[in-house]
Every structure is written in C-alpha cells, then in structure tokens.
C-alpha cells in the first residue's frame, strides 16, 4: 500500500468529501496550522471556489454560524485553528451544538465537524497550547475523534462527515509529518472501534492523538529491555470502545495512560476511572498517568519539555508500575 503523510491524508479526505457532497463546505482554513504543509490547503481553496469560507476573527460567531448552517442542511467542516481559540466558541459548542438534538426531543440534527490543533506545538506558550478534549468529553452530545495516524485521520474523517452529530476533530500539528499506509480506495473507520497499534502482553499503554506516537516509541525502547507493551488507541473518545481497553488490561494486568491534557480531570483521569471501575480485579498495580503537569504551558523550551509527556517519562512510568 502507498505510504503518505498524515497532512496529505487529512487533505485528501477533505478533498474527497468536498467532491462527493455539495453540502460539504469548509469554514476557516488553518487545518494545517502554520506548518510547512499549509500550501496543501491553499490548493483545496483553489479547487473548490465558493466552498471555502474565510471567517472574521470571531470564533464564537463563525463556529456558531457553522452550527446554524448545519441545522439548515449544510455539512460544514469548521476549523478553529489553534485549540486555545475554541474557548471563544464554547457557548456555541458546549451550550448549543451539544444540546440541540437532545433538547428538541430529537427533532433537529447538527451535522458538523469542528477541527482544531491541540496541544504543545513548541513555543506556543500558555495561550496557544491547550488540549481541550477533556472538557469536550465532559460535554455529552459531542462525538469526538482523535486520530493518530494517516490511515486513521482519513478514515475517521469520512465517518465523521456522515454523522448527523456535532463532531470534534481533535488534531495535532506534530502528527502532520507522520508517514503511513493509506489505501487508494475509499474507506471509512467506524467510530467506537479502538485500534491496537502494537500488540503486547506485559503492560497496556493507553493513549490518543499524538500521544499514541509517543507511546509507540516508548514501546520500542521498552522492547529492547524485554518489556512487551501493548499500545491501545481508542481513536474516538465518543463513542468509546471500552471493551478493547478492558480486554487489553485483562490480558496485561498493568496500565499506563499517556495523555497530553493537564492531569487533573484530563482524558487520562477518565481512562483511569473507567478501568478501576470496570476492571479492578484485573489490575495488579496502580494505574499511572503520564500527562502534562498542572501548570500553564511555559514558553521556554527547557520548561516546556519538563512539563510535557515524553517518551522517557512513559518508559519510567512503565518501569515503576512493573517493579
């Protein structure tokens, strides 16, 4: 199978969606952030005149407009660029989009996707480095995809576009250069199906988004030390494939969670709470979370490095858990 970059797979997915359905429109254009790949988006814009909207700097207004447009029958894919700007749109995402289907008794659907690049990108400092997926997961009514590979990003995006629900597309600029196999033929990845990114028997590493890549390299290092780690990637947080996670823990009996959210009430907290509630008797040791330290993200590279999850921290955590 051909191998392409994550950024290419993402843009290919967007293109195919735009081609397949006239109702698909892009609102906002910084899908690829300020990375060197951003030219790919310029091409999309040129290929689909009138289908790519350039909003004002008004995240509340234009994300809300995407929700309204979805209600009226459009299938918008709206880009919030840096995840930190999603807070401006929280009243519309958390208090409107997530609630509308439910509070209308199922009358109204909100088929839209909102995309953002989360997490530490290097030098983003406190106001450009958020990982808001835990907050979104605490908001029932949103589907959440958090891909970690070229194959997943395209396949999940296709599924998200068919969904009649508002879907958060949790993305990460540090994934854009990841290379991997992507079929030429069309395919979709169902939501709610975790993927075992690496089979293993000694310990489970549970991670999503860019943290999967970190977990995979940690697993390689651990392999050299004779530890066979299984890397489980839920791929979507909502719906969540609990079974695959619980089965992996039932097999390995040990769990380390790798999560880029701040620790308190992060995605990792939910993973831990889930497992201790539903697989307590399988566990042979504490569940350890490798997360971003509970401090605002500092600018300086030495500080940033100290507070973010790293391969080394994952390795150390595993050794601690298994000792």
């Amino acid at each position: 199978m051909r191998e392409i970059l994550y950024a290419e797979a993402l843009v290919e997915g967007l293109r195919e969606l735009l081609e397949a359905d006239e109702r698909v429109h892009l609102m906002g254009q910084y899908f690829l952030g300020l990375t060197s790949h951003r030219e790919l988006m310029a091409d999309v814009r040129d290929s689909f005149p009138g289908r790519v909207y350039y909003p004002p700097i008004a995240e509340l207004g234009y994300v809300g407009a995407a929700i309204g447009a979805a209600i009226a029958g459009l299938r918008p894919i709206v880009d919030i660029a840096t995840a930190s700007f999603i807070f401006q749109a929280f009243p519309q995402i958390v208090n409107e989009a997530a609630n509308i289907h439910y509070m209308t008794g199922g009358q109204t659907k909100v088929p839209m996707i909102f995309h953002f690049n989360h997490g530490i990108r290097g030098g983003g400092a406190a106001q450009h480095s958020h990982s808001p997926q835990a907050m979104l997961w605490n908001t029932p009514g949103l589907e959440i995809m958090a891909p970690s590979s070229p194959y997943d990003v395209k396949g999940l995006l296709k599924t998200a576009a068919e969904s009649d629900n508002p879907t958060a597309f949790v993305d990460h600029t540090r994934l854009f250069d990841v290379i991997g196999p992507v079929p030429e033929d069309d395919y979709m990845i169902p939501f709610g199906q975790a993927d075992i990114k690496r089979g293993g028997k000694d310990i489970t590493l549970l991670a999503s988004s860019f943290m999967v890549q970190l977990a995979l390299s940690a697993a390689e290092t651990l392999a050299e030390q004779g530890i066979d780690a299984e890397v489980v990637d839920p791929r979507t947080l909502v719906p969540l494939d609990e079974d695959t996670i619980l089965e992996s823990v039932a097999k390995t009996h040990y769990l380390v969670i790798v999560d880029e959210c701040h620790r308190r009430c992060g995605v990792g907290a939910e993973f831990a709470a889930l497992v201790v509630e539903k697989a307590f008797s399988d566990l042979r040791a504490p569940i350890v979370r490798v997360s971003t330290e509970d401090v605002p993200v500092p600018f300086s590279q030495t500080l940033e490095r100290y507070i973010e999850p790293t391969e080394d921290k994952v390795v150390q955590a595993v050794l601690r858990v298994l000792s």
Partner: protein
Amino acid sequence: MLPTLSTKVLLGLLEKALAIRRFEEMLVKLAGKIDVGHFHVYVGQEITGVAALDLLETGDLCFTTHRNHGHLLARGADPALMLAEILGKSTGYCGGRGGTLHLASAQLGFPATSAAVGGCTPLATGAAFGMDRLGSDRVSVCLFGDGALEEGSYHESINIAALEKLPLIFLCENNSLEALGQKAGEYPSSTLAVVRLTDLVAPFGVPAITIDGCDGKAVRDGMTEAIDRARSGEGPTFIEARTVRWPGNRPLWPALVTGETNLSMAWDETVIPEEFREWHTTQDGVLRFVREMIDEGHATPETVIALDELVQDQMRTAENFALESPYPEPETALDLVFAKSGSVP
C-alpha cells in the same frame, strides 16, 4: 394601524394574538396552582410576533429565545403541545426535554431555541449562511430581546451576515422602553450605551428601522421589506420593534397584575382599571388591534368576543390535555443524545 389586509386575514391575525394572550394568562394562572418553574411570557408583544411571522413560508427558519411562546403560536403551534412541553410531559413538542426555555418545533420552522442570551444570533446567522450556500430562497429570522445586543455574539454575527449578504432578518424586540435610561432620553435598555439601537447596526451597512411593535401595519411593512430583501439576495435587515414591558413582566416571576384581559377595554374605556390605564390604552397591542378592527369595520365587539371564546375554549382543551398527559418514562432520559447515523453504532 392595521395592515392592509382582508377582514378574513385580519381576523386570523387577531385570533393568533388572542391565542398568545390567553395562553400566557392560562400559564400564569396555572403557575399559581402547581409548580411550573420559571418562565417568561409574551404578553404585550403579541402584535410583533403575529404580524411579523405571518409573512413567513414553510422552510423559513426562526431562532428564538427564552421568551419564545408567542413566536411558536404565531406560526401555528398547538397550545396543547406547547403547554405539555412547558409542564415536562411526554406529549410536548420536545417530549418534555426542552421545557419553556427551549420550545422548538422543527416542522413549524423553529429548529432550535436557545435560552442563553445571545445564543440565537450565531445560529440564525448560520442558518442563513446555509440557505445561501445551498442556493435556497428561504430566509432565517433571528428573534431576540434588546438584552442580546449586549452580548458580543451579536456583534460577531451581524458582521458575518453583512459581509456575506445573508438572507437574515434580525428582529429585535425591545421591550425595555420603560427602562430608566430610556425615560431620560439616554439608553434604550438599562445597560447599553447607545441612544438608538439602530445606531449599532448602521456601521455594518445593514438597513435598520425602528417600529412600534404594537402597530400591526408597521410590523408587517417592515418585515415585508426585510423578507423581500433577504429572498432577493440583498442581505440582512435589522428591525427594532418597540413595546413597553407588560407590568406583569416586571416582577421576576410573571404575575397577572392586570388580571385576565377584559377585551371590552378595547371599546369601553371606563372598564380599564386606573392602575394600568396607560399601559392598556396605549401599549396593549392586542386591545389596540381589536379597537382598530372595530373602528375600521372588520369586527364588532360581538365577533371579537365570540372569537375570544373560541380561543379560550382551545386553551381549556390544551390545559386538560397537558395536565392529563403523562410524564416521560424515566429511562428514556438516556435516549436521543445522538442522532443515529453512520458513526454511532
């Protein structure tokens, strides 16, 4: 003034205005007997909603607020299903999930009702965006109070609507005319520093008018022009419809301080109680509409009374229906978080 319409159509409008008035009165009375929770009523603004929304066609969408009852009734909602929703019954428009704050009927063109002040502006703007991009000739109507102009979402929305020339009508119901600032010739609402609300709109190049929200003709004319502009691709319009807040709306919880409306106040000034004389004589749109109907020969006191009885009957039926309807089954609370679709197994 009355809109220039046939007697039959005018009677239809009057019936809707009466339906709103009687619905809200029924609700306030009911709230004195059983716990209905907090709600907001549309008394005093009936003519705005009825005259404006009568012009809409199927497929046109309205996005309204916490003060939505009158809007739905103006587009023909069934008071029984409305009250059932307000009481949290399974037979209500939203199966009891929404309640008074979120009355919605997709079929009637109310796909989502936000009770967050300023919540409806981006939604309505977006619906217009969608219609525009889908090449439809439908229009989107954003119904909101003067208070929503204080939220930044208004500012962001009108900018988008203006830049994209969206088929959108901002219908701002300014019911704060008795506010202190306004009385002093200053602010039209308690907490906005602009002297005329339409001044806020002008910079965006969006046509904006101020009308008397109790004047059926003014409302209809303003709305006709706005809809024409929207349907022909000329972009959004802003209408400020002014009404004076019903005294029963001044307390935190609505109260029937003016009693149940005695329609004969329309033709017999002597029955108007002293305390609220000014409001009923000059600011009660329903009475004024009735008076104009009679003055212009479209109705007589008798026909009005007959119509009102019909309406009141309907409300009694609605009330019985709603009270007798069952609450939703508790376990169904877990349903409908997501629309079933490809991605959710």
